[in-house]
Symmetry: C2
Subunit: 487 residues, 2 copies
C-alpha cells in the first residue's frame, strides 16, 4: 500500500489506473470511432444526461475516459454546457483535464471561476502547465490568483513568467533529477528509492538523469535504461553520454522543436546564461510544439490567424478581416492595371474573358513554390548555403510547368478565338509562371533574412505579383502584338 | 571497460560520446548559426576541402558533427559532391547518417551503390530504419539487397514490408522489453544487467517495459523511472499502469501521431490482430511523423505534392503541373461565366476592371476557412459531433468579414464610379464571402466523410466556387440592377 502512494505522485491519471483490465479501451470501443474521436452518439448521450441533470449517469459515462478525452468532450460543449458540466461532475474536471484543454476554452472556463478556485487548480498542476493556464489571463486576474497560491509554487510560476512567451524558460519543467559526477549507479538508485529524501516528492516524469559538476553545470546525461542495465558499483560518469544538447533558457519554441526532432531527444537540460542547469524539457511537451509549429504555416499563409476553431469569433474576425483588407489593396493594384488597358478590352471583350485565367494559374504556381519554400525554411532545409541552388531548381520546374500550361491554353484559345490570341496568352502564361516561381522563393527568403516569419506576409506579396503580372503580361502583349490598339 | 561495450550498443552516436567536454557544441559554435543551421562559411570550407581532395582536413572538419548534421551537410551537396564525399571519408558516412538523410537523397545515394554495400549498411541499422531505406527502392534492388542480408535481419525486414506503407506494422521497432507479470523489480533489474542474457544484445533505446500475460498479450506498462524508484521486492504488477494505449499493427501513421500527442506517450506497445505484443513505437520516431503530417497540409492544399526541396525535378514537375491543369479547368469555368456576360462588359468596361476583386477576395476568404477546417479535421477537433456548430461559427465570421469588406469597396467604387456600381459590388462581395465560408467548411468535411484526405482536393473545388460565384454574382447583379442590359 505504501507503493500506491508513491505511484500516485508519478502517474498521469491515477483514476484510470485503478480501473484495470481494459487495455485497449481507447480504441474501437463504444465511445471512440476508428480514428479515436469521440462518437457523436456518445456525445449525445452525455449531453442528454447533462440536460436531464442525471449526474450519476453523467459520471458513469465520463469517468472511464482519459483526461485528454474529457478535455475533448468539454471542447465540444457550448460555453453554458461547460459550466453545467463542471458543476455536475466536479471530480471529473481534474487538473489533468484542465491542462489538456484548448487554450481558448481553458481561458474561458478560468475567467468564469473565482480566483480561489483557479488557485486550487494551479497548485495541483506542474509548473509548466500552471504557467500555461495563467499566462493568457489579464494581469489583474494573474495577480489575484497568484496571491492565493502557496509561496513555493508562486515563486516558480513568477520565475517562468519572467521569460518571454514561447521560450524554453517559460515552457521548461523545474523538477528534474540532477546528480553529482562521483555518484555510482547504486547510490543513485538508493536515493531515488528513498521517498523521504530529496526526490521523495518529485511529481513529474523523468526519462533521463542529468549529471552536474560542482557549479551545477551539466556534464552528461544518462538514459534510465543505461542505469538499469549497469552494475551498481559503476560510477555514473562512466555511464553518461558527455555529448549532449543543452537548451538555453532564451531559446524559442520553434527552434526547441527542431532540436528535439533533429537529434531525436527524449529530454534535454535547460541552462541559464551562466550555464547552470535550471530545468528540463521533455518530449511529451515538445510534441505539441512541433505539431503546432508545423501546422501553423498553412493557417498563416492563408491569413487565418490563430486558426483555432475554439477562438472567439471576435478574434477570428479581427485577424481574418485584416488580411482580407490587405488583399483588397493588392486586388486594387491589379484592377488599376486592367483599367489602364480599358480601351483594349472595349475593342476585344475576349481579353476580359481570358485574363483571369493567366492571373489565376500564375497565382497557383506561386502558391505552390511559396508553400515549398516556407516549409523548407521552417525545417531549416532552405538556408543561406543553398538558396541559389533551390532558386535555380524552382526556375526549372517553373519553366516546365509554364511550357506545359502554355501549350494547352495556347492551342485551345487559338482554336476557339484566333491563333494570335492563342500565342499571346501562351507567352503571357509562361512569363507569369516563371515570375511566380521567382517570387515564390524570393519573397519568403527575403522575409526570413529580415527576421520576419515568412509564413505571415509572403502570400500577400506573391499574390500581388502574380495577379498584376498576369494582367499586365497578357493585356500588354495583346497591345504589343497589334491585336488591339492601346486606346 | 566492459561497460564501454555495453554502452556502445545503446548510444546513438558513439563517435561523439568519446569526444567529451563540449556540452554545448551544437549551439552557437563556429559550425552552426543561432538557429542551429550549418553556417554557409563552414559549408564552403567543407566544399573546398572536398574539391582539393584534402581528405584529412575534410575529416577534421566533419568529424565533430552529430550524424544528423552530417546528413544535413550531405543534403546541401550536389549529386556528384555526395559520391565524392562518401568516397573521401567513408568512415563518417555511418549508418546513423544514412538513417537521418532525406528520403530522396538517400534513395539517390543507395541507387548509386552496389547491392553488397547497401546490405552492409542495412545490417547496421535498426529494423525500422532499414525498412525506410529499402521500401523506396525498386523491387529488383530490394531483392538483390535482401539476398545479401543475414537471415534474421531479412526476416524482420520482410515481415515489416508485408504491412502497408505508413502503418504501425511498417514503422514499429521489433526490439523491446516485455516481461511476465510475476516478476519483481529486482528480477527485472538483474535480467537487464545480464549482458549474456535475453536482452544482452538489445540494440535500441527503451523507455518503458511492457508486462505481458502467458499469451503475450500486454497487460500493463512500467515507466523506467517507476522501476528505479521502487524497492526490489515489489512485483511489477504492482508498479505497472494497467490502462495503456495499444497500437494495432494496421494503424495509420497520422492516427499514430495523434495518439502519441493526445496521450503524451513516450512509447507504446504494438499488437497484432490477436492482441499479441509484436513491437513498440517510440516517440523519437513519432515526432518525425507528427511534424510531417502537420506540415504536409500546406503543401497539399497548395498542390505542391511532396513539396520536398530534394525531390527530383521530374517528380516535382509532374505533381505540380497536374494541379495547375486541374486549376486551368476551374479557371475555364469562371471564364465561361464571364463570356456569358460579354455584352454587359462591352457596355461598361468598369465591370471587367472590378470583377477580379470580387473573385479574389472571395478566394481568400474561402482559403482562410478551408485552412482552419482542414487543420481542425487533421487534429480530430472537427468531428461529426460539432460540424454544425463550426459551420454556424464560420458563417458568422464570414458575415462580419463580408459586411466589412463590402462597406469599404462599396464606398470606394461608389465614389470612383457610380453609387449603383458601388451597391452592386458590395452586395456581390457579401454573397461571395458567405458562400466562400460555406464552401470552406463543407468541401473538406465532405471529402473527409468520403474517406478522402481533405487537404488534397479541397482547394480546387473551393477556388472554383469562389471564382465562379464571384463573377456570376457581380456581373449578374449588374444586369439585374439594370446597370447594363443582358446583351
Amino acid at each position: 500500500m505504501a507503493q500506491r502512494g508513491e505511484d500516485d505522485l508519478i502517474l498521469d491519471d491515477p483514476p484510470l489506473a485503478e480501473d484495470g483490465g481494459r487495455p485497449d479501451d481507447r480504441v474501437d470501443d463504444e465511445r471512440h470511432d476508428e480514428d479515436n474521436r469521440l462518437k457523436p452518439e456518445f456525445v449525445r448521450r452525455v449531453r442528454e444526461a447533462l440536460e436531464d441533470e442525471a449526474d450519476d449517469e453523467l459520471y458513469d459515462l465520463v469517468e472511464p475516459l482519459h483526461p485528454a478525452d474529457v478535455a475533448d468532450l468539454v471542447e465540444l460543449f457550448d460555453a453554458d454546457e461547460r459550466s453545467d458540466f463542471a458543476a455536475a461532475v466536479p471530480d471529473l474536471v481534474t487538473s489533468e483535464v484542465v491542462a489538456e484543454l484548448n487554450d481558448h476554452v481553458r481561458e474561458d472556463m478560468m475567467e468564469a471561476l473565482p480566483a480561489g478556485a483557479v488557485a486550487a487548480i494551479v497548485e495541483q498542476l506542474e509548473t509548466d502547465d500552471a504557467v500555461q493556464l495563467i499566462e493568457d489571463l489579464d494581469a489583474d486576474d494573474q495577480r489575484a490568483i497568484l496571491a492565493e497560491v502557496e509561496p513555493e509554487d508562486r515563486i516558480a510560476i513568477e520565475s517562468a513568467l519572467s521569460y518571454p512567451e514561447e521560450t524554453a524558460g517559460r515552457l521548461m519543467n523545474r523538477d528534474f533529477v540532477a546528480v553529482p559526477e562521483h555518484l555510482t549507479v547504486g547510490d543513485l538508485i538508493d536515493m531515488l528509492r528513498d521517498d523521504t529524501g530529496h526526490w521523495g516528492d518529485l511529481s513529474n516524469d523523468f526519462w533521463e538523469v542529468f549529471v552536474v559538476d560542482h557549479k551545477h553545470h551539466p556534464v552528461g546525461t544518462c538514459q534510465l535504461s543505461w542505469i538499469l542495465r549497469t552494475p551498481r558499483t559503476i560510477a555514473l560518469s562512466d555511464v553518461m553520454k558527455r555529448d549532449q544538447t543543452l537548451i538555453p533558457v532564451t531559446m524559442d519554441q520553434e527552434e526547441l522543436g527542431n532540436m528535439f526532432q533533429k537529434y531525436g531527444l527524449i529530454s534535454a537540460a535547460v541552462v541559464d546564461d551562466s550555464g547552470r542547469l535550471v530545468g528540463q524539457m521533455t518530449v511529451d511537451d515538445v510534441v505539441h510544439i512541433i505539431s503546432e509549429e508545423a501546422g501553423e504555416d498553412v493557417l498563416l499563409l492563408s491569413g487565418a490567424g490563430d486558426g483555432d476553431i475554439n477562438e472567439p469569433i471576435r478574434e477570428a474576425y479581427s485577424s481574418r478581416v485584416r488580411w482580407l483588407i490587405a488583399n483588397l489593396g493588392t486586388a486594387v493594384v491589379a484592377s488599376a492595371i486592367i483599367a489602364f488597358f480599358g480601351a483594349a478590352i472595349e475593342q476585344l471583350v475576349a481579353l476580359a474573358v481570358l485574363m483571369p485565367i493567366v492571373a489565376s494559374i500564375g497565382g497557383n504556381a506561386g502558391t505552390q513554390t511559396m508553400a515549398v519554400a516556407v516549409r523548407a525554411i521552417a525545417t531549416n532545409q532552405l538556408t543561406r548555403a543553398n538558396t541559389r541552388k533551390i532558386l535555380w531548381r524552382e526556375m526549372r520546374v517553373a519553366m516546365l510547368n509554364g511550357a506545359t500550361v502554355a501549350v494547352l491554353i495556347g492551342i485551345a484559345v487559338g482554336l476557339l478565338f484566333t491563333p494570335m490570341l492563342g500565342a499571346v496568352i501562351a507567352v503571357a502564361m509562361v512569363v507569369n509562371i516563371v515570375i511566380a516561381g521567382l517570387a515564390g522563393v524570393l519573397v519568403p527568403v527575403i522575409f526570413e533574412r529580415l527576421d520576419q516569419d515568412p509564413a505571415v506576409a509572403s502570400s500577400v506579396f506573391v499574390t500581388m505579383i502574380t495577379d498584376s503580372m498576369g494582367f499586365f503580361a497578357f493585356l500588354g502583349l495583346a497591345v504589343a502584338s497589334g491585336l488591339v490598339s492601346a486606346g
